[in-house]
């Protein structure tokens, strides 16, 4: 039984280990280890295309995480006090957002926004004062962030709602009995209690947006995110440089995940203040 478990862990981690190992390969060939070197890390970090893609991905992930945790937390708090059709509608939409394959979300968002922009652009041009260049709506960073936010916001709603459900209602009532305003109660009682869940949601949203390929592939327009860059490089062949980038990306997401886990756990085990 132990041996079996060991085998499964090897199955899970050997591929990751191989990428990390070959990222330190001195040779050019991807499948022969010829010596230890960190030169591919230097190459990757000095490649302007990689750095541009990294910057795009970090900006998109950060904006997505901010928007998703803000909108998701607001919705989760409100949903606590909502019953009836509105609640059913929201639950259904969140369920659909998570269940529909990413690829369908990607193409649907692409064709819907391209169509809407196709109507709006002439309208904007007509309304714009003469002489000034009217803005052109097109696919790019805003649409990428909007699409990622739609999905990750649904995740945040689920995470924060679970934390709210585990919260002792008596605390909120006690606060109201002691003449705290609703805002005061929220700031001093609810928010500290759900903060770990919000932060965990933030980190998960960041990781999702940073790692997502398929939605970004459709809605990012001319922007190139890091996963899009990696995907197109793989198509051209396997290089040690890509291994170095992959190793760095995985190390970074691991770090974020461990942080999210610790936060969720600390939040769950902390006795109600």
């Amino acid at each position: 039984m132990r041996l079996y478990a060991l085998c499964v862990y090897l199955f899970l981690y050997i591929p990751i280990g191989i990428i990390a190992l070959f990222s330190f390969n001195a040779g050019r060939h991807a499948s022969q280890f010829t010596g230890f070197s960190t030169k591919w890390y230097g190459k990757a970090l000095n490649n302007p295309f990689v750095m541009d893609a990294l910057e795009t991905s970090l900006i998109a992930a950060f904006l997505t995480a901010c928007l998703a945790s803000a909108l998701g937390t607001m919705a989760a708090i409100a949903l606590q006090g909502v019953r009836g059709w509105l609640r059913t509608l929201f639950d259904a939409l969140i369920y659909i957002a998570i269940m529909i394959p990413g690829i369908v979300i990607g193409i649907a968002t692409l064709i819907a926004l391209v169509t809407v922009f196709g109507w709006l652009n002439p309208l904007l041009a007509a309304l714009w004062p003469d002489g000034a260049t009217p803005p052109q709506l097109s696919m790019g960073m805003p649409t990428l962030v909007a699409a990622h936010t739609m999905f990750t916001m649904s995740l945040v709603i689920i995470i924060v709602r679970a934390r709210l459900a585990g919260m002792d209602r008596a605390l909120v009532e006690a606060s109201a009995d002691l003449f705290a305003t609703p805002w005061g109660t929220f700031r001093q009682v609810t928010l500290p209690l759900i903060a770990p869940a919000i932060l965990a949601g933030f980190l998960l949203s960041f990781t999702f947006s940073f790692d997502d390929f398929i939605i970004a592939f459709f809605v990012a327009g001319s922007e190139t995110t890091l996963p899009i860059y990696i995907f197109s490089s793989i198509r051209r062949g396997v290089t040690p440089e890509i291994n170095a980038i992959g190793t760095m990306v995985m190390a970074a997401s691991l770090l974020l995940l461990v942080m999210a886990q610790l936060l969720l756990r600390r939040g769950a085990s902390k006795p109600p203040a």
Partner: protein, 283 residues
């Protein structure tokens, strides 16, 4: 402000976001799927069932998906169950959490990079070279259905282990002792007590993995080399290469419909088995 007004205000941004970025796009795909292809690609408004009538042209993609998605789900289940059992029942409690986290962590790192690792292992100078040393020549692994299957199992194994672990972990261990005290062999205890009680976890795991596999694009495109393609690959081709939006929309609608039908039939079957679906989070 009243409580009701405040709630409405808090819900508005999220609601609008879901409306514009989820409901509207899905409606557009639905409407477009009844349209026609423009001369230079894109979409021309029409009401025709032509696109749906043309679906058989992409039958291979549907066939591959409908064979490899269930096969991948079953393979993942077969590999995941013993591990989940080990973690929940056999493993020393002080190691349990760390070992469980080790299973889940890969799932949250880039599936793109993890799938790409298998190009090394299955490619010419990886496993096939090893097999050659033991006398098995000319084994081709990369760009075969087998490679895609390995990639699928590898990618989604964590998602299968976790729900099964949760249902086995909740299981009252005294039931196992009672069964042993009453003279059952360990194997019989497993078949008559443990397995039936873990059905909810198995059902959840299978459903999660199956749903994700139905829309898979990356794994077949990286490890299938254009020879083993899923509906997802057909969709990318239709929207980004041939720009046939109407037909692509029909394919997308069909994929979602097939998914919904399979999942609801599956849920009916599971609830008949007597299991109840648990609410299981992935984190």
């Amino acid at each position: 402000m009243t409580q009701k007004g405040r709630n409405a205000l808090l819900l508005t941004p999220a609601g609008l976001w879901l409306l514009v970025m989820l409901v509207l796009p899905l409606l557009v795909v639905f409407v477009f799927s009844f349209g026609e292809r423009g001369a230079a690609g894109g979409y021309v408004p029409a009401f025709t069932l032509e696109q749906y009538a043309n679906l058989p042209a992409r039958w291979t993609a549907f066939k591959n998906t409908l064979i490899l998605a269930p096969l991948g789900t079953i393979a993942a289940l077969v590999i995941a169950y013993p591990l989940a059992y080990f973690l929940a029942v056999r493993c020393a409690p002080r190691w349990r959490t760390s070992l469980l986290i080790l299973v889940i962590v890969p799932f949250w790192t880039s599936i793109l990079i993890r799938s790409y690792a298998w190009i090394f292992i299955l490619g010419g100078r990886g496993l096939p070279a090893l097999l050659e040393t033991v006398g098995l020549d000319d084994v081709r692994l990369i760009n075969t259905p087998f490679a895609v299957l390995v990639g699928i199992v590898y990618g989604y194994l964590p998602l299968m282990v976790f729900p099964i672990f949760v249902s086995l972990d909740k299981l009252d261990k005294r039931l196992l002792e009672a069964s042993a005290d009453l003279g059952s062999t360990p194997w019989r205890t497993f078949l008559q007590v443990t397995l039936p009680l873990s059905i909810p976890g198995v059902a959840t795991g299978c459903m999660l993995v199956f749903i994700l596999l139905m829309g898979e694009f990356l794994i077949p495109s990286i490890l299938g080399g254009g020879k083993v393609f899923f509906v997802g690959n057909a969709l990318v081709d239709l929207f980004l290469q041939s720009r046939n939006w109407a037909y692509g929309s029909a394919v997308a609608m069909t994929l979602v419909a097939v998914m919904l039908v399979t999942v609801s039939v599956y849920m009916k079957f599971i609830s008949r088995l007597g299991g109840q679906r648990d609410d299981i989070s992935l984190m």
